[in-house]
Amino acid sequence: MIGLEVVFDVSVAVLLVVLALESLYTPNLFTSIAFFIAFGLVMALAWVRLQAPDLALAEAAVGAGLTGVLLLDAAREIAAVRGVERTPRSMVRLTSLLVAAGVGVALVAALLEVPPRAAGLAEAVREALPLTAVEHGVTSVLLDFRALDTFFETAVLLLAVITVLVLQAHQHVRIIPWELSASPVLSGLVGLLAPVVLVFSGYLLWAGTHAPGGAFQAGVLLGAGGILLELAGVHTVSRLPRRALRWLLSLGVAGFALLSGTLLLAGRGLLELPGAGARTIVIALEIAIAVSVALTVVSLVVGSNLRLEPPEQEP
């Protein structure tokens, strides 16, 4: 049984390396993207083997889905997707190869120094878990122990979406029509999938309090569902009034800012949750993060393809 698991691990590892090699060195860019999508899929299997189901959930949506969509869209605009043979200069090739090999060897040497067994912070988290508002380790780290990290992560996401929307606002030509022309197959498919996505992301959000799942996974999945709707011509996000969209995009950051401000005024530490009501606060934060992550994902993907509604649509 042990031997079988080793075989499985090594197979996943070999597949990952082969897929990475193919997606990096195939001359045809489109083939490279196809390989990269497969790479994301196998990464999810690797997370499963590392007993990180939270990561597998996120990778299944991001690595195998959303990144592929982004790359396909960009490739369609920037490059003729048909094969372009690369002619790297041999000196650059050789130097980069040497540098990368050196870094790799150094990392392996460092890895051999790492003790093969270490508890890390697993014990500490397990002991402190009863003190937190939720029963799932990863969620408690994200929203309680290290809430500050999550605060700044939501800020990073906001920054990225501002970048995309600002760039897109200055484009004057609408180059790629984002939605497909009316197709009964697509509207049928989306009609079937959209409710499932909605229910399932709600489930993931709820599951995050006691099992793998949580705001980020739920938000990313909900965002992917929103992209499907936009594809089918059901404009949910791109027809939102701009002011409403801005507020909803910053809901996560705003929630954290409001919470930390209130706690500081109440004489507590930054993001030091009060014992009573902590669960309510954490769940409210999770909902805020999930909503803004979902809208961020839709804006990131659709934003560079479609001009949002002009300002006269504002109320």
Partner: protein, 91 residues
């Protein structure tokens, strides 16, 4: 029973390895993309087997995400293919 399930998952991994040939050789973009998408289906099956073998129900959620979002990449691909054909026919 658990051994059987893990061996089955291994066989599925091997089919992904075999499928790489089709992604790499094509010849058309649709061949490559469909093949990459079929890996998603294989991944769903492998995840369900692992969920059973190691008794980890959350893996079924991962499989469900795979199944739902397989449509996303494919729809975007079809969209580009349709636009491409449309512009070529129109020209």
């Amino acid at each position: 029973m658990s051994t059987f399930l893990v061996v089955s998952a291994l066989v599925l991994l091997a089919t992904i390895g075999a499928g790489l040939v089709r992604v790499s050789r094509g010849p058309t973009a649709a061949d490559r993309m469909l093949c990459a998408q079929l890996f998603g289906t294989t991944g769903v099956a492998a995840l369900l087997l692992l969920a059973e073998a190691y008794d980890r129900p959350p893996l079924r959620d991962v499989a469900l995400i795979f199944a739902i979002l397989a449509a996303l990449v494919l729809t975007v691909f079809v969209k580009h293919a349709a636009i491409h054909r449309h512009s070529r026919d129109g020209a």
